[in-house]
Each structure stands twice: as C-alpha cells, then as structure tokens.
C-alpha cells in the first residue's frame, strides 16, 4: 500500500515529463494542465500517505528493495548485490507533502507567469523531471540512488536555470550551478566510495547496522569522520553552503517560479535532508564542522543580503543564510528544529519568491507596455509604493516577511527560535559560544534586510510615477498560491502553542535519531541536550524577539522614516559595505583562481601535448632543435618529415648514409678493404 502509493507519487511527474518532452507540441497548450494535474494528483496521494503513515504506523520504517545489479562470485565479497529501493518513514512522508505541495503551487503559478513563452511545454516538462528527481531523493533508501537523483536534480536545475538559453548570463549561471555542484558531488562520491569499500553496501540501513556493530571503514575512526564530511560536501554543494554558495545567487537567472520551487523551497533543502539522513553516522567532530559551516554561511549570506538591490538576489542570499541556519541546527544536534525550519522556510521562502515573481510580472508588463527596456524590472530602487496597487501580493508578502524575521505567531518564529535554543544549549554544554552569537546576529540582520526589502518595494514614493500607474495586481492563478503559502506560514499548522514547537505534533513525529557511531565519537547525549534546551528556551525566545524587533525598527528608521541616511551608514561601514556589496569577492576570486586557473592549466597541458610529447615522439634530436622549429618543420616537410618515431633521426642518418654512396668504385673498394681489416682486427679471438 505505502509502496504502491509512494511509487505512484514518484513516477507521476516522470510520466508528465515523458509525455511533454516527446508530444509536448502536439498537446496544443494543454500541456500545462496535464502537468499540473499529475502533480496535484501526486500531492493528493502524498497527503493520503502522510495521514496513513502518521495515524497508522508512526514509528516504523518501511523499505522496499530490489536488486539492480548482482555481481556473482566477486572476489572476497562473494556475491555482491547493488540494491535499489525506497524507504518510508515520517520524515519521508512529510517531505513528500512539502515537495508536491510547493511544486503544485508553482505549477499553477507558472501557468500564468510563463504564458506565451516559446518553450512553454518544455518548461513544464523540466519541472516534471525536477519533481521526479526530488521525490526520488526523498524516497531513496540507499546512497547510490541518492547520488543518482542528486545528479538528476542537478541537471534539471541546470536546464531550468538555463531555460532562457539565448541569454549568455543564463547559460553561464547554469554552468556555474552545475559545476559547483559537481565539486560538492565529487566529495560526496568519494565519501560513498569509502563507505562502499568499507561495507560493500549502499543502503542506509545496512550501513548503519554495520557501523553500529562496530565496524569502521578501513578500520579507522578518522575514515568514518572523513566519509561523513565528504558526503556532507554534497550537501554543501546543493544547499549552497560556504564555500560553494556562489552558484545560488546566479541561479536567479532562471524563471522566478523555478527559483521559488528549486532554489528556495525544495532542491536546496535536499542538502539538509541528506545531512538528516546521514545524521546517525556523523561523528562529533563532523557535526561540529557542519555546525560551524552552517553558522558561517548564515552570517556571510545575511551580511551580503543587507546591501543587495536586486529583489531576487536579496531573497537568494536570505535563502543561503536560512539554509545555513538549518545546517547549523543539525550540526548542533537540534535535529527536529532544523527539519522544521526546513519546512517552514519552504513555505514562506517559496511565498516570498512567488510574491517577488508577481511584482516582477507586474513591473515587466508595465515596462513592456511602455517600451522601456532600460530599467531593470527586478531592481527594488525602481519600485516603491506598490502597496496600494497590488494589495494581495503586499499582504501575503508582509506575512512571509514576518515569518522569516521570526516574529511570534508565525511558523518562522517557532522553528527559528528552537534552532537558537539548540545552539545556545550546545554552547552551554561545550562552550562553543560563537554559534548562538552568530545565530542571534543573523536573526537581527534577517529582520533588517527583509523589512528593507519590504519597505523599498511597497512603501514610500515610487521611483517613477509612470511605472506605478501602470502596475496592476497579478491574476488569480498567481495570487492563490500566494495566499495558500501565506496561510501555511502561520504557526497553527505546526503546533497549537504559538510560543513552543516542542508541544506540537511535529516534534512528536520527527525525533532526533540515535547516533550509532562508537561511543568516544558520540555527540552529547540526547536527554542532556533536551534538558539544556529547556533551560535556555525562555531566555532565547525573548532575546530573539527583541533582536528581531530591533532589526525591524532599524529598517523602518532608515528606509521608512529616513531618520538615518543609508548612504552615511554605508560610509561608516566602509570595508564591510564594500565587501557586502561585492559578495565578499567570492565570485571574483573563484573566477580568477579556479576557472582561469583550470583553463590555464588546460592550455599549458595542451601545449605540452602538442609540442613536448609529440616532440619526443618526433625523435630525440628534436629537443635540441627546439619545439617551434619542429612544428614548422613538420608543416614544411609535410609527410616526409613524419616518420614519427624515427623520422628526424632516420631521415638525417639516411642522408648521411647516402652520402657514403659517392658513386666512385674505388671509394667503395676502400670501404671494403677497410672493413676487411676491421673485421680481422675486431673479431679475431687471438
């Protein structure tokens, strides 16, 4: 039952993809409905699955497995089977719902947003492909399959980012996204190889069992930590953690609904999901590193977001920093909080993007009508005062903003302050006080820049009256998803008590799994941690609320009431301002270091290939003669020069030898007599 349902959920989107990619054009505009229909069907199924699972068998994990490949009588391991299969537990079903839900909403939204695009069908096809692979990631029960779907979401995001492939920037962004992810996957792949080499299986269950049984890859704890961290590299790539966060902002080149679905709600969260899946086998050091990575990411992303003007860029950076939050949460062991934040964030960040989308849509239409192609439809400096013109968008946007800033009564508040509590507890246990500090700072920053965004976009005077007059509220198809998401961004979906998630159903179904790594590598025990959380909870809550409030207030003073001029602030900030504006120069230096570096190496090696190796091949004396001359010589002598191995030498010696052939009999005879004597003297044994 579960299995069939989940398989249905998994393959419905794929079906959509198939149909659209091959018969898309034939469907004559019905393509969108088909795709959306299939997706919503999947949504229904996953809701059913959710209910069944949570009511039926909340605390058992079902797996369904079949052999993909079997190596009979392999050396040492006997018969080695590579399994594929699905695993269903509470986390899975919840994630299923989240993904299908957001995906469906985005489908709906896109039907309006993308209307009239010349690759309309293909767009929905790609969406289908993405949903399929995302669901795959969620459902899989083993690392290999995880990796496979991992790559597949990568490729579908590549396709969607590069959807406007005529734009160079778009394709660049797509390449960047894919390659940066590849770097992460490289680590992940090695991690998987280590585990496979150690336990010759891929499936989580088997892995954890054998680790729990005390085996270690290559018998060393170092390798265990390493494998954990290497697999985390995959997460770093996908979830755009430092140092691989650079691709996400560029990924905004894709259509806005895509950004909402992939680069805010679901795919980027896959990294978090991966860490959650691997959580039991992560050693203490690994977790610590993970936590710091997350924290650091959150901080720098937030600091960058403060100064951005492109509406989508701001959201992108905020996404990064929120993801950092989740990673940090998992790192410190606030497992449930992290997951919860993943879900709440999915809702309100998707909402934010869709809202931004509807703004851009409106702006775009206006600009298009006014034949204005200079002004950037995404630059918040060109907006302002939209509040009056597009109320629905505005109010939903407000809700989302409140949620992300962690204001009470919103979902964001619940999860975020659990995370902060977690970090606080963690530091209280083993004195890593930097983590909560960063957490709080980021909370403040978030509140600030989100309200900055809100104010600049909707409040105040418009940059151009002409534009403002043209603006219209977006059509129903686009506003409905917004409302739905806004609703989902309120607290009561997650727990009855607006000030404490732990009481809610969510905490009851998602529990932090037991760590199975050898004792000396275990992070702090669960109970210990829970108590610590309880003790710090109230204090953290107040702190966070205050900080959020401060942030919001500051935002209003600067941008609404203009008490403080932003420019002066920038002046004051100096270095920080510059750094933040330029994304702390990551892209710049990455480009110089890696891209140009690689290309340079490539060119050098190619030169080496053409000249040196061929040179060597073209005969030893070449080295002396000099490469340049060689290649010239090749071209001039054409084929005669190219008795490869021996050409140079043999040609030369051949020439010398034919010099001996003087054509004078007597010279010949001299040679004969000479060689006669030589033979006599040389080979005589006496």
């Amino acid at each position: 039952m579960y299995v069939q349902l989940s398989l249905l959920i998994l393959f419905l989107p794929l079906l959509g993809f198939m149909i659209l990619i091959f018969k898309g054009k034939k469907l004559s505009g019905k393509a969108d409905w088909l795709a959306t229909g299939l997706l919503s069907l999947a949504l229904v199924f996953s809701l059913v699955l959710l209910v069944l699972k949570l009511t039926g068998s909340p605390d058992e994990t079902l797996t369904y497995v079949f052999n993909w490949i079997v190596f009979t009588d392999a050396m040492l391991v006997g018969s080695l089977a590579i399994e594929f299969g699905i695993m269903i537990d509470n986390l899975t079903v919840i994630m299923l719902v989240v993904v299908t839900l957001v995906s469906t909403l985005v489908h709906l939204y896109s039907m309006m947003y993308m209307k009239g695009d010349k690759h309309y069908e293909r767009y929905f096809a790609y969406l289908g492909l993405f949903s399929f692979s995302m669901l795959g990631i969620i459902l899989t029960h083993n690392l290999l399959l995880m990796y496979i779907f991992w790559e597949l979401v990568g490729i579908s995001s590549y396709l969607l980012i590069g959807f406007y492939y005529e734009k160079k920037s778009a394709t660049n962004a797509a390449n960047k996204a894919f390659i940066v992810n590849r770097i992460g996957d490289f680590g992940m792949f090695i991690g998987i190889m280590i585990l496979f080499a150690g336990f010759s299986t891929f499936s989580f269950g088997a892995l954890f069992d054998s680790i729990a049984a005390g085996q270690l890859p290559f018998g060393s704890e170092g390798w265990l930590t390493a494998s954990g961290l290497l697999i985390f590299c995959g997460a770093v790539g996908k979830s755009a953690q430092f140092p691989l966060h650079v691709w996400l902002p560029d990924a905004m080149e894709g259509p806005t609904p895509v950004s909402a679905l992939i680069h805010a709600a679901t795919m980027v969260a896959a990294g978090v999901y991966l860490v959650a899946r691997m959580f039991p086998m992560l050693t203490e050091d690994a977790l610590l590193i993970i936590a710091y990575t997350g924290a650091f990411t959150a901080l720098i992303a937030a600091s960058i977001a403060v100064t951005q003007y492109d509406i989508k860029k701001v959201l992108a950076y905020s996404t990064i920093s929120q993801l950092g939050y989740m990673i940090m949460a998992l790192g410190v062991g606030a497992f449930t909080a992290g997951i919860m934040h993943l879900i709440t964030h999915a809702a309100f960040k998707a909402g934010l993007f869709l809202g931004a989308g509807s703004i851009i849509y409106a702006m775009h239409n206006v600009l298009h009508d006014q034949h204005d192609h200079k002004t950037d439809a995404q630059d918040i400096r060109n907006m302002g005062g939209l509040k009056s013109k597009m109320p629905v968008t505005y109010w939903t946007f407000v809700i989302f903003t409140l949620a992300i800033s962690g204001v009470p009564l919103t979902s964001g508040f619940l999860s975020k302050d659990e995370i902060l509590a977690g970090t606080m507890a963690f530091s209280s246990l083993n004195g890593h006080w930097l983590l909560p500090l960063i957490g709080l700072t980021v909370a403040g920053l978030t509140a600030f820049y989100m309200f900055r965004l809100l104010i600049l976009t909707f409040h105040g005077k418009p940059a151009k009256e002409s534009i403002l007059n043209g603006i219209k509220e977006s059509p129903k198809l686009m506003t409905i998803p917004l409302m739905v998401l806004a609703a989902l961004s309120l607290f009561f979906f997650y727990s009855i008590n607006p000030f404490g998630a732990p009481g809610g159903w969510f905490y009851s179904v998602i529990e932090r799994p037991m760590s199975i790594v050898p004792g000396n590598l275990q992070p702090a025990g669960h109970e210990l941690f829970q108590d610590a959380v309880k003790s710090v909870h109230a204090m953290v809550m107040t702190l966070s609320v205050l900080i959020a409030a401060a942030g919001i207030l500051f935002a209003f003073t600067v941008y609404q009431w203009k008490r403080v001029s932003a420019d002066q602030l920038a002046e004051k900030a100096g270095v920080f301002y510059k750094g933040s504006v330029n994304h702390w120069y990551f892209d710049k230096y990455y480009n110089q270091l890696f891209v140009d570096g690689t290309l340079a190496v490539a060119r050098i090696l190619h030169w080496f290939d053409v000249n040196i190796i061929d040179g060597i091949v073209n005969g030893t004396s070449v080295m002396a003669k000099g490469v340049a001359r060689l290649s010239k010589w090749i071209d001039t002598n054409g084929i005669d020069g190219l008795v490869n191995l021996t050409a140079w030498v043999s040609q030369g010696s051949g020439k010398q030898l034919s010099k001996i052939q003087t054509g004078r009999v007597q010279t010949y005879l001299v040679y004969v007599a000479f060689s006669f004597i030589v033979f006599i003297l040389l080979f005589n044994r006496i």
């Binding site: 010099k659 052939q661 054509g663 004078r664 009999v665 007597q666 005879l669 007599a673």
Partner: protein, 110 residues
C-alpha cells in the same frame, strides 16, 4: 741471426707466399688509387697472379701436388676472359663518356 740467415738461404713456401702477399698489396694499391680504368684492370691482374703464385707454391711444397697447378691454369683462363670483357666494357664507356677516368664517370650516386 743464424736461423734468419738459414731461413733466407733456403727459399721455401713462405718466401713465395710473401712475394704473393706483396703482389696482392701492390695490386690492391693499384686498384684503389689509379684513376685510369686500365690501370685498375692491371691491378686486378696482379691480384689474380698473386693468388696463382699461392696455388703453385702449394702444389710444390704441400701434398696438394698438381691440383694447385690445375687451378692456376683455370685462374689464368678466367683472368683472360675477364680482361677481355672488361676491356670491351671500357671501350663502351669511352664511346659514351670520352674518358676512362673512373671519377669522371659518375652519374650514379647517392
């Protein structure tokens, strides 16, 4: 000293052989050094003769007896034949090149 004198006093096989060796060397010399083809030919004759001296010396001093002379006979005949043909060819050359200097007849080389 005594022995040397004695050795000189009774000319035996080695003496003849040494003469033939000398002639061989001289013949070779002529062959290698003379521009004129005819001279080269004479050198060849000399070489053949030196060989002949060997044969006949052997026929005298070893139990090879008359066979040596026999072979000598044949060699002389061969020499004659060869000389005839050679001279004919040289004439031909002269008709073509108007010279019989070896180093001036040198189209084929390399």
């Amino acid at each position: 000293m005594e022995t040397t004198l004695q050795w000189l006093a009774s000319p035996g096989l080695p003496h003849f052989l040494i003469i033939s060796a000398m002639l061989f060397g001289l013949g070779l010399m002529a062959v290698l050094s003379k521009r004129n083809v005819v001279m080269v030919l004479m050198g060849v004759e000399l070489i053949l003769n030196s060989a002949n001296i060997n044969f006949i010396a052997f026929s005298r001093f070893t139990d090879f007896s008359l066979n040596g002379q026999m072979i000598g006979l044949f060699v002389i005949i061969i020499a004659a034949a060869e000389a005839a043909v050679a001279l004919a060819i040289i004439l031909n050359i002269y008709n073509r090149f108007k010279t019989i200097n070896l180093d001036e007849v040198n189209l084929l080389k390399g």
